[in-house]
């Protein structure tokens, strides 16, 4: 496989995963606010903080209201991580490597892309926000299913897996951090009804609500949410699960290689160790925010190493 093509594949996987998280966040926040009238001035503000692009948002919008945030997250062409931009990036990256992916995957991506081309703010108004995201989620689950069930477990699959898992790890971390660090900074609110609703929303964003109920019981507590989303070895949207899958993909990639040059495994092993041996209570005690920032930094470092080792042209 060409290095450039491996890079395109890696980024296609990342953008697909990112689009999915953006959709999850907006959807869950929208429904959360339907039930409870917002007390805070800007209940949409935290979503903007999750992305690394709140400067761009501030330059375009004076106030983080529902319309502005949804427009920024879903439709904005100048915002590289808007759902529209992500989906266009997925297609642009996959287009020259159609020979590596199943025709089912290409057709499904192209169909989604064509749908996105027809999007406008009216699309949302006409069909309703709820329908819009339900439909979008269906697309994403279908794409994941097609990848899982039509692609041979070769280098192509491993690169997709690596990109998906690193992007997911990063998104889970940001989601947790925003809730923990930015929302409800007042101590007296912790454990109150608003706090619990927000934690439930976090779980829903990660499709973790039912899994949480089943494994951790009915009571939502911050240490249990951290346990499932950071340290759980079995839940497919926990940071630990992501790094383990990424490490396995990396291992398969490097085993296939004939030469004995060192792989990008060092930062990967560190993340594996941190997420593998840690526990929720100790982490919260010593600072969840710092822990998450550190994990995100290591994850970015790992992605850079992987890119340099297998994908960079110079």
């Amino acid at each position: 496989m060409l290095r450039r093509i491996a890079g395109s594949l890696f980024w296609a996987a990342r953008y697909l995963e990112r689009a999915q998280w953006r959709a999850r966040l907006v959807d869950v926040n929208y429904h959360l606010l339907l039930e409870v009238p917002p007390r805070d001035a800007d209940p949409w503000e935290p979503l903007v903080r999750i992305t690394a692009e709140h400067d761009l948002f501030a330059a375009k919008h004076s106030h983080a209201g529902e319309t502005a945030v949804i427009d920024f997250f879903v439709f904005d062409r100048e915002h590289r991580s808007s759902i529209r931009s992500c989906i266009e990036a997925v297609r642009a990256n996959l287009s020259p490597l159609r020979h590596l992916i199943s025709s089912e995957l290409w057709l499904a991506v192209n169909r989604l892309y064509l749908e996105v081309q027809g999007w406008s703010a009216q699309t949302l108004a006409a069909g309703g926000v709820s329908n819009f995201f339900t439909e979008l989620k269906r697309h994403f689950f279908m794409l994941e299913g097609i990848v899982a069930h039509t692609m041979p477990r070769d280098l192509t699959y491993d690169v997709i897996e690596l990109g998906t898992m690193l992007e997911r790890l990063d998104n889970v971390s940001r989601l947790l951090d925003v809730k923990y660090h930015y929302l409800l900074p007042r101590l007296e609110d912790i454990g109150g009804p608003a706090d619990l609703r927000q934690w439930a929303a976090v779980l829903r964003s990660a499709s973790a609500f039912e899994a949480f109920r089943r494994c951790y019981g009915n009571a939502i507590r911050v240490n249990r949410v951290v346990a499932i989303l950071v340290f759980d070895p079995e839940f497919p949207r926990s940071m630990r699960f992501c790094i383990e899958r990424a490490a396995q993909a990396l291992e398969r990639i490097s085993v296939r290689q004939e030469s004995s040059a060192p792989s990008a495994a060092a930062p990967c092993a560190e993340l594996l160790a941190i997420l593998g041996r840690g526990d929720a209570d100790t982490t919260i005690e010593s600072g969840l925010h710092e822990f998450l920032i550190d994990a995100e930094r290591r994850c970015a470092q790992l992605a850079d190493r992987v890119f340099d080792r297998y994908m960079a042209l110079e």
């Binding site: 060409l2 450039r4 020259p96 490597l97 020979h99 169909r111 042209l313």
Partner: protein, 494 residues
């Protein structure tokens, strides 16, 4: 079936009265269907124009869903468009195709021999058959090509030869494309669509398959690998996603199972060509390039080119890789050289040309120029170096101002132009996209044909080729960049 009724029941399925009278490929001058088209016409009549237009729309949707598109230059959106597709097929009878095929192979072999000669002893020039200044003055002549000897003497691996059918029903060569001819992916995709739109008709008619083209092309490319390589690695070099033919590059590499590379994926080390893979450098033996000579190698050609790879020419000269088509083949498809192609065929093959060419006047000759300029409104003027229909002035249809401008351009650089009489391109029933009395309208539209010839250890020809249709009424320009569309071309087997 009642041919007369056929002529009147469906508007457009009848001979046109435009001047000069072109050949209608489905109906004779009396409005009777031509024998090879009878079954298709009967099928289309049974279908009716409404249903036919529905099939056309379905085809359009299928192209869109599959992402079969071309990029438009100068479109700021980086716009992708669908090459308009007309669902009424164009039929070529078996004996007609057999003659064409022989003529195409003859022509490709002669053009190849010409390129080989030009970059060696240029014997054809020494013998006075082709004037020297025509060659050295050609913008497509490449000094760098001398001294590179491609395996098997194959310079032109892929040729696209544009044909037009005259009022006498003979196919004439309009121009040769022996640099990086494109369009073959549409031939294959058009057929795939048609087998889904009209399966029962295709099966009943014994239509020659076009599905084998990628296999033919890969075989030809492998045959011209440097000698001694058992299992050569072939790659396709594309300028990238912004090129108008990028879809075709993706399509062909996918169908042949080879890597689609950009210049930055390649590197030359020790006079050998490599591509940069995840696991290190991998040797490339044959490079099927879809970028122009000028951009191939910044060391030899344009130094600012980011599309090629530095050192490629030296690799070729060392015989460590083969480039298809070879550098400098454009010297053979120059529109002025075209006038000498019948002489070329006689010179190299000792045969007379099986395919006639269109009468061509070289404006570099002062006497000829004077004659042509006197009646400029009777000629079609073409710049010798351009392709894609750009810069063509059709005298009989041009305004006085356009003619005056053309005259000025010719006088400034006479060697850069040729003139031909207006050739009456044949017409074919086509959906116009408009409606008459609430029904989709059909009318005669001009068509040409671009067959593809491959030279490797032996010649191979794709059955049929790309039929391009000028969708605007009366238009003679069929190029996709100028509002042309395409039709599926059915070569019927005996």
């Amino acid at each position: 079936m009642d041919a007369q009724r056929a002529g009147s029941a469906v508007p457009g399925l009848q001979a046109t009265t435009a001047e000069p009278q072109p050949l209608n490929e489905m109906f004779d001058a009396q409005g009777r269907s031509r024998p090879e088209c009878a079954r298709v016409i009967a099928y289309l009549l049974a279908l009716g124009p409404g249903r036919l237009a529905e099939l056309g729309e379905r085809a359009h949707r299928m192209f869109r869903t599959m992402g079969v598109t071309f990029k438009v230059y100068g479109d700021h959106e980086g716009g992708e468009r669908i090459f308009p597709f007309d669902p009424i097929p164009r039929i070529i009878a078996a004996p007609v195709w057999a003659e064409l095929e022989a003529g195409l192979i003859q022509r490709a072999r002669a053009l190849n021999a010409f390129v080989a000669d030009i970059y060696a002893e240029a014997q054809i020039v020494r013998d006075g058959v082709v004037p020297r200044d025509l060659i050295v003055g050609s913008p497509q002549f490449r000094h760098a090509a001398t001294g590179i000897l491609p395996p098997g003497g194959v310079y032109i691996t892929v040729a696209g030869i544009d044909l037009v059918r005259g009022a006498d029903s003979r196919f004439h060569v309009l121009e040769d494309n022996v640099r990086t001819p494109s369009g073959v992916s549409y031939v294959i995709e058009n057929r795939r669509i048609m087998t889904r739109l009209m399966p029962e008709l295709i099966r009943g008619l014994r239509v020659s398959s076009v599905e084998n083209y990628p296999a033919y092309l890969l075989a030809a490319l492998r045959e011209i690998a440097p000698s001694g390589i058992g299992d050569p690695t072939v790659a396709l070099l594309t300028p990238g996603p912004f090129n108008s033919a990028f879809f075709e590059h993706v399509f062909l590499s996918q169908q042949m199972g080879i890597e689609l590379v950009e210049g930055r994926d390649l590197v030359c080390v020790d006079h050998k060509l490599f591509m940069k893979t995840v696991y290190g450098l991998k040797r490339v033996d044959v490079l099927y390039r879809r970028i122009d000579d000028d951009f191939l190698d910044p060391v030899v050609f344009r130094p600012d080119s980011m599309l090629g790879v530095a050192g490629l020419t030296a690799v070729l000269r060392a015989g460590n890789a083969t480039l298809a088509n070879a550098i400098g083949t454009g010297v053979a498809d120059d529109k002025a050289v075209y006038a000498y192609t019948p002489a070329m065929i006689r010179y190299y093959l000792g045969e007379s040309a099986l395919l006639p060419i269109v009468e061509t006047h070289l404006l570099r000759d002062p006497d000829v120029r004077q004659t042509v300029l006197r009646d400029l409104d009777r000629y079609v003027v073409k710049p010798t170096g351009a392709s894609g229909g750009y810069g063509v002035v059709i005298g009989p249809r041009a305004t006085d101002e356009e003619l005056a401008q053309a005259r000025k351009r010719i006088e400034a650089a006479p060697a850069g132009f040729i003139a031909q009489p207006l050739f009456p391109l044949s017409v074919h029933p086509t959906l116009t996209g408009e409606t008459v009395d609430g029904k989709p309208a059909m009318a005669s539209r001009h068509v040409d044909l671009r067959p593809f010839v491959l030279l490797g250890a032996k010649p191979r020809v794709l059955a049929g080729g790309l039929t391009r249709v000028a969708l605007r009424e009366g238009s003679l320009i069929v190029n996709s960049s100028q509002g042309g569309g395409s039709k599926d071309t059915w070569v019927l087997e005996e």
